[in-house]
Amino acid sequence: MIQEELFEITYKKNIPLITVFELTNRCNLKCRHCYLPKNDKCSGSELTTEEIKRILSQLKRAGCLHLVLTGGEVFLRDDILDICKYAHKLNFDFRIFSNGNLITEKITRQLAESGISGVEISFYGRESVHDKITGVRGSFEKSINAVNLLKRYKIKVTIKCLLMKSNFNDYPWLIRYARNNGVSYRFDPTVAPKNNGDKSILKHRLSNQQLKRVFGDKDLVGNVSFEDRKGGGFSDWSNDLFCSGGHNSCGIDPYGNVYPCLQLLILLGNLRDKTFSKIWHPGNGSKLTQLRKFKQDDLQVCNKCTYAENCRRCPGLALLEDGNLLGPSSLSCKMVKVQCDKNHLNFT
């Protein structure tokens, strides 16, 4: 109730309640489905510790409460614990997304002291499947060690798994592993194109038959997220076929670029040039102001769709994969059809 009230107020007032902050695009794994292009030429230099702290202070002033620190792999940054301590000092509800491979006991102890709200570790299945997907032998064992360490230091752990053709048969094992170890789990069937629009990785997406099984599995109910990088997993709230991106959630990349969401790659400005407030509250005629004006009525195709009521359309995917912010997202179309047909819903 309070959660919904807060979400609604911040949505209406464009307060960035949730921020997903990519601190680096560097990674120690080579996951086959990664949405970050290998040769990241647009980058320039990563934000420094001081720049990140300045941005966090600006986010606090703007009203941001929930903060996700992600990558790449955030533990490749030497200053990650310093950033965590600073986030705690500013009273953020912050968590880290990581592959866990660089988490040592010393790091875990310091994380526990930093006031972190939780760590989400990526898992893909049993050892052979996991290591094949990450492209690094031994990565599974290191991720398992990270979960054990985090648990020992009483840090909340969630294992999250992108469901693909290659690990689909392993998801029941992952559920058993999570339950046996007392950690939460979350599955996501959304393989997104790379940020540069490259669709080659879409071949990893689940088939319709596999999606049907996902939607029909009671062990997955409430643990399936349909919007991988939207909202950082804090809420499923949505009032129409647009989303919270640009209203009360935002994304920041390692170079200070601000987006409505890290899945909705409309560049709003750079924090090396402008303050967060200037970027988030621009004048009339800006891209963000225009985006905020869009309503469901502007979605001419989706509005006529019989599945609209149940659809979890992602505007970012619609833009990135299908080239039209106001058009259908082919993945969302596929998923809602499978889901509704599975439920034997009647449409006229």
């Binding site: 309070i2 509800d93 006031g115 709200s117 909340k156």
Partner: protein, 85 residues
């Protein structure tokens, strides 16, 4: 005995309401504008008497009623670990 807010918890003031997160339970609490005033007052350790006197000077309220309400407020805050003694 002095009272102060639990500074380990994430919180923000949004639209004149204080929202506090308990990461352990993922529970979200909200304090109305009067609660917000008290939250501000306990940013540093203060006595219950100090808070009652301060609010009595700011609000048109019977002192005994105020005292009862504030004690109940802190009892609930204590139950949910939102304050540190």
């Amino acid at each position: 005995m002095k009272i102060k807010r639990n500074n380990k918890l994430p919180w923000r003031v949004i639209d004149d309401t204080v929202y506090i997160v308990n990461p352990a339970s993922s529970y979200l609490y909200s304090l109305n504008p009067l609660g917000r005033r008290i939250w501000d007052l306990i940013s540093k350790p203060v006595t219950l008497e100090f808070i009652i006197d301060k609010l009595y000077s700011e609000y048109d309220v019977d002192k005994e009623t105020l005292k009862d309400d504030i004690e109940e407020f802190f009892r609930i805050m204590g139950t949910h670990h939102l304050i540190a003694n």
